[in-house]
């Protein structure tokens, strides 16, 4: 068991009040597992990704624990987190295009970064070069400035940098959304190869784009309105999803390869509830065709099958 998240609550401080963006999620990611994390924008998936590595100024840790390789990850304490970042947990941000200091040569930046983490750049250099080769880039990109690189190149460089210290967990946040289809494929494959080379133990791929997950993810975790809806092996989620939301989500994809899931979701009547004061009980019930009286109670996220958990009374009920 590489990553274990239990009952994690992280809220957003806004002027209107606390937005319960992440309201008690519990799941785990196994070694070597690439877990996809999908859902409409605003469902809290990015919040989840961020909170595992760095809570920004507006995020507030409420409760829950994160356990990585048996060690407690103190996500609530920015200072305590520092040793984990980069080494244990790392991220490929959605803004990869602009993630590098425009006025520093890439190599220089990496060396300054690693040195600042108490490492000797010289000792890492060769590995860095090897990985640059691996992602199919010319080694002298390190002697270049970010603006000299194309979007795809930047993307790949950032991936190399983020994984340079072989972190246990890599969070890839919307990394493909800004790219064209062919580059997407390349990037996706790179991720897999990173896992296969053991640069990263396990991975969380956050995306709108289920088709990408279909290509690379071992399992998919569907989130809705700050809570978990369903988690199962990729094939299971695609072929026989159990949660009504997931079903609508998947069925709304005419065929695999369609880009933005949430675009299609216009088809689902209604919109997600405001997370300022979310309704009690199942948060999907307002839009759920199957909703019934029980749904006013909070549905538990229960394993309905091996490695298949769902939060829905109907599903739980039928099996019970």
């Amino acid at each position: 068991m590489s990553l274990q998240v239990s009952d994690l609550r992280v809220y957003y401080r806004t002027l209107a009040g606390d937005v319960k963006a992440l309201d008690g999620v519990t799941f785990s990611v196994a070694d070597k597992e690439i877990m996809g994390l999908a859902g409409e924008s605003g469902c809290g998936k990015s919040t989840l990704g961020n909170s595992l590595i760095r809570l920004d100024g507006r995020m507030k840790y409420i409760s829950g624990s994160v356990n990585l390789d048996g060690a407690e990850v103190p996500i609530w304490d920015d200072k305590e987190m520092i040793p984990f970042r980069f080494r244990e947990v790392s991220v490929v941000p959605q803004y990869a295009m602009s993630a590098m200091n425009p006025t520093r040569k890439i190599g220089k930046m990496v060396s300054e970064l690693t040195e600042s983490r108490g490492l000797r750049f010289r000792e890492i250099k060769d590995e860095l070069d090897r990985r640059i080769d691996l992602v199919g880039l010319d080694r002298d990109v390190l002697k270049r400035y970010p603006i000299e690189l194309s979007g795809g190149m930047k993307q790949r460089v950032v991936m190399v940098i983020s994984t340079l210290l072989d972190p246990s967990l890599l969070i890839a946040d919307e990394i493909t959304s800004a790219l064209d289809v062919s580059t997407q494929r390349a990037v996706a494959e790179t991720l897999v190869s990173f896992r296969d080379h053991g640069f990263v133990k396990s991975m969380m791929v956050i995306t709108h784009d289920i088709s990408i997950l279909y290509q690379i993810a071992d399992s998919i975790l569907i989130m809705y309105a700050g809570k978990l809806a369903e988690k199962a092996a990729t094939s299971t989620i695609i072929e026989k999803p159990r949660h009504p939301y997931t079903q609508m989500l998947i069925s709304s994809l005419p065929e695999v390869g369609v880009r933005y899931a949430d675009k299609k979701l216009a088809g689902i009547p209604g919109s997600p509830p405001s997370l300022l004061d979310p309704p009690t009980g199942c948060r999907f019930r307002a839009r759920c065709p199957l909703a019934f009286s029980k749904c006013v109670e909070e549905p538990p996220f229960v394993e309905v099958d091996t490695d298949h958990s769902v939060a829905c009374w109907k599903v739980a009920g039928t099996d019970a």
Partner: protein
């Protein structure tokens, strides 16, 4: 104004979405904007200072209607509470408060008009240079440079020597006509970066004439930025006016804060201990310009959530 321009010239304070906060966008925008406008200490304080001064500038001359140049009172009178003498009197027995109120009026006027004119010229040049690029850009750049290096004082000397009397209006126009270059450069840079955005290309492809693209696509997209620029020009104009007045090139006949300062110095207010003649204009200018600059940053933070202190 010095490096204040640095702020405006380089970064576009265009609002960006504050992370994936699941609150309906429209509501968030409206709500937070208003909320922040009222919550931003910088904005509220500066605006209230400006309002207060504006009230003095507008109502002052009405309440205390004495002609600022009338030498009807006891000369060099200390400020007292009795009406008409709140700020004391000058060496000539002129009512300092009347001068201050009218001077403030003039300064606001100069800032408003001079700053406005500069902003307009700056936009015309900046938009055109940034949008058209090429040789248009080159030429406009050169003109901008020329205006940057010519000691405008020289030009002013020539012009004034032809005018029998020069009013506040003239001063405002002159300042407006000479203080636009940095704004032009800043706006040019902004336009340049906007020009390459998809929606602009779209507009272009849709065959709209250049000026329409500028007016309906580019300008709105940097409206907040333009406004901030205007604020800086507003304050700058007031300071420039003060310097001109101080070397005796200010308005003749009229009254302005700079002119008050100039007179106070010419007639040895400091050495004669008539501090109440010398202090108000200086403090007045500092208050107006300072408040404007603070407002500038306050608004910037409102337009651009990232900048807010959390």
């Amino acid at each position: 104004m010095t490096a204040m321009t640095g702020t405006a010239s380089e970064k576009s304070p265009s609002a960006d979405d504050a992370g994936n906060v699941p609150v309906p966008a429209a509501k968030r925008a409206r709500g937070e904007f208003l909320f922040f406008t009222l919550r931003s200490k910088k904005f509220v304080i500066s605006v209230s200072i400006l309002l207060l001064l504006a009230i003095v500038a507008i109502l002052g001359p009405v309440v205390d209607s004495t002609d600022p140049l009338a030498q009807e009172m006891l000369p060099m009178r200390h400020p007292t509470l009795d009406p008409g003498n709140w700020f004391g009197t000058t060496y000539f027995g002129e009512d300092v408060f009347a001068q201050f109120a009218n001077g403030l009026r003039a300064s606001f006027f100069i800032g408003f008009l001079g700053g406005g004119l500069a902003a307009i010229i700056g936009m015309l040049v900046g938009f055109l240079a940034g949008y058209r690029g090429g040789w248009v850009d080159e030429i406009l750049n050169m003109i901008t440079n020329i205006f940057l290096v010519i000691p405008t004082l020289a030009v002013l000397l020539v012009v004034t020597s032809y005018l029998q009397a020069r009013g506040v209006l003239f001063e405002a126009i002159f300042i407006g006509g000479t203080s636009w270059p940095w704004a032009a450069r800043a706006i040019r840079a902004q336009t340049f970066s906007l020009r390459s955005r998809d929606f602009i290309d779209l507009a272009k492809l849709s065959g709209r004439p250049g000026w329409k693209v500028i007016v309906f696509e580019i300008a709105p997209n940097m409206s907040s930025y333009l406004f901030l620029t205007y604020i800086l020009l507003f304050g700058g104009a007031i300071l420039i006016a003060a310097s001109l007045d101080f070397i005796g090139l200010g308005p003749t006949g009229g009254m302005s804060l700079g002119l008050m300062m100039f007179n106070a110095v010419t007639w040895a207010a400091l050495q004669l201990g008539i501090w109440w003649w010398f202090v108000p204009p200086g403090v007045g200018i500092i208050a107006v310009v300072g408040a404007l600059y603070v407002m500038n940053v306050g608004l910037d933070e409102i337009f651009n959530p990232k900048l807010r202190e959390m």
